[in-house]
């Protein structure tokens, strides 16, 4: 029940109660008057009946319409009083992680609502401060990690060139270098996402033939899938143009392909498809992987989230692939979803707005 309905009901109750009190008062007054005029005893039924009739008349003909009017007025008043709250709610609804810095407009009257807005603005400003600090922390951390990583990689590589290393030492150095490079990729991914969060990345916005990028990616997919004996299919892509950043879109496609190949069973299948869906280009990539349990499905885009901890050592990756894919899609005003029915293909679906060049 809204505050407005509740207030109006209470108001109606109070008005009815007042009407009763007024009715009773009127009845007393009228019967007193009649007795005075006719010198009759108070328990005279005619007098009392007469008074009751008069009172009823007053209550029904004047009192009830007055109550009705009062209620309408009350309904209107509460609406007026609550309108700023409704406006405030609408404004607050628009707040999300990225516009915390924009304060809510204040009415400047210094009333309760103005004060509430002020307090609210102060709260979002504090939140914004915390968000910014976390972002800056990640950004600085990833920068700070790069110098020692550069040194570690460089020195390990220098050690590798040492001819006097035994084959075992050589192996160890190469294994270390592999891990260092993986670490470097994680730091790279982290830097990219931290920058994206802070709005520090500007993407190119140019017409891009999505179908061409997909065909190009298909060639790579064939090669990547070969060692696992996977079958890769691409279904009839028609010419589709989107507006965006060619490099990032290629990164997205390769990223999804890489996942579809990595998380697949041997001799499995990868199916890619590009379709037009009204004003949207829909690209799906499906694979015959082991699937993703429904309880973790909503979390697969989370950073460093790994569905199955047992896979951690088997499949090499930086744990940021899907987060980066999601960022790229969102930055292109698109959506990315993943579905994994118990029996069937695991399917990643990307929808991007189609770009129609202005007709001259």
């Amino acid at each position: 029940m809204t505050i407005r309905t509740r207030l109006t009901l209470w108001y109606a109750g109070i008005l009815m109660l007042s009407l009763l009190v007024i009715g009773y008062g009127t009845y007393r007054e009228i019967s007193e008057q009649l007795r005075h005029e006719r010198w009759r005893r108070p328990e005279d039924r005619v007098v009392n009946g007469h008074a009751l009739n008069e009172t009823e008349e007053m209550v029904f003909q004047v009192g009830l319409p007055a109550v009705g009017l009062g209620l309408l007025g009350g309904w209107w008043l509460t609406r007026r009083a609550l309108a700023p709250v409704a406006r405030l709610t609408a404004e607050v609804e628009k707040i999300h992680e990225h516009n915390l810095r924009t304060p809510l407009p204040r009415n400047g009257s210094g009333d309760e609502l103005d004060r509430l807005t002020e307090v609210f603005n102060a709260m979002t400003a504090r939140l914004d401060g915390s968000f910014t600090r976390i972002r800056e922390f990640t950004l600085h951390a990833s920068h700070e990690l790069k110098t020692p990583l550069t040194i570690l990689c460089g020195e390990t590589e220098t050690a590798l060139r040492d001819e006097t290393l035994s084959p075992a030492e050589h192996e160890r150095a190469i294994s270390q270098l592999d891990e260092l490079r993986r670490l470097a990729r994680i730091v790279d991914g982290l830097t990219l996402l931290a920058k994206a969060d802070a709005g520090q990345i500007t993407l190119a916005r140019e017409p891009v033939r999505l179908d061409e990028l997909i065909r190009d990616n298909f060639d790579d997919a064939l090669i990547l899938a070969e060692p696992a004996g996977l079958q890769v299919e691409l279904s009839a892509p028609e010419a589709v143009q989107v507006c965006g950043d060619r490099h990032r879109l290629r990164q997205l496609l390769l990223n999804l392909t890489d996942n579809a190949v990595k998380y697949n069973r041997p001799q499995g299948r990868v199916h890619m498809e590009l379709r037009r869906e009204g004003a949207l280009a829909e690209y799906t990539i499906a694979n015959t992987g082991p699937g993703i349990p429904p309880e973790i499905l909503p979390r697969v885009f989370d950073r460093f989230f790994r569905g199955n901890p047992a896979h951690e050592n088997v499949i090499e990756g930086c744990g940021l692939g899907l987060s980066i894919a999601q960022w790229i899609v969102t930055a292109h005003q698109g959506t990315i979803t993943i579905e994994s029915p118990e029996a069937g293909l695991t399917r990643v679906r990307v929808r991007l707005p189609i770009y129609n060049p202005p007709v001259k």
């Binding site: 550069t150 990689c153 190469i174 592999d178 990223n255 890489d258």
Partner: protein
């Protein structure tokens, strides 16, 4: 061949110096921008390896000043910032190549070598390494008398390797030049393509031309 390395981080500067010296370069190291400008004006270098983040005058400003002074020494920019658009900004400021940190040392050496040799780049239309022949006009490859079928990507990869014959090519360099990716895809794409290319141009033949340098990259080598 003389290289100027402008890097304030001592250890980084030291292993870059070592690696380049091993490859036969003479190396000078400057810890900051002003010293680098002075050194570049005093001595003709064949290549400058320039870190963007330097104390005082930063790398990009050094680069712009060099170009203002009409010093057209090839410059390889190094950066730890990893800005997506920094590469473009660097190239616009007059850099010849860009390498984000952390980089692979072999990659750095390969790039410096490519920059110092740029002027004598192979412009031939038919590339030859031993009995391997690649016609860049018809896009046909032959090993001896056998014609080899190549996909578009395999062709680009082979052309790149043949143009860099006897030079080590790092993975990132191949990714950049053959795939035109400006990011590390984190896949074994290059390795898989090299394996396929090797099956076509090397496996059925002798001597072997395409070599893997573990932990560093690939090398197409003229047999001794």
């Amino acid at each position: 061949m003389r290289v100027l390395v402008v890097e304030d981080e001592k250890k980084t500067a030291s292993f870059i110096r070592k690696a380049l010296q091993t490859e036969g370069f003479a190396v000078d190291v400057c810890p900051d921008g002003e010293a680098a400008l002075a050194a570049a004006q005093a001595t003709p270098f064949d290549t400058v390896v320039l870190d963007i983040m330097l104390p005082g005058r930063d790398g990009l400003s050094v680069l712009r000043r060099l170009r203002e002074l009409h010093l057209n020494t090839p410059v390889l920019l190094l950066s730890a910032r990893g800005e997506v658009n920094e590469r473009v900004a660097g190239l616009n400021a007059g850099a010849d190549d860009y390498l984000p940190k952390p980089f692979e040392l072999a990659e750095l050496v390969a790039r410096v070598r490519a920059l110092t040799r740029r002027s004598v780049e192979n412009k031939a239309t038919v590339l030859r390494v031993a009995d391997l022949r690649l016609d860049t006009l018809t896009r046909l490859a032959h090993r001896g008398d056998t014609e080899i079928q190549l996909t578009a990507r395999e062709y680009r990869l082979l052309e790149f390797l043949m143009r860099s014959v006897n030079r080590l090519c790092g993975r990132m360099m191949i990714i950049e030049k053959v795939w035109d990716y400006d990011f590390d895809p984190g896949t074994n794409l290059v390795d898989v393509y090299i394996r396929r290319l090797r099956e076509k141009i090397d496996t059925p033949f002798e001597p072997k031309l395409l070599h893997t340098v573990r932990g560093a990259g690939y090398l197409l080598k003229e047999p001794a």
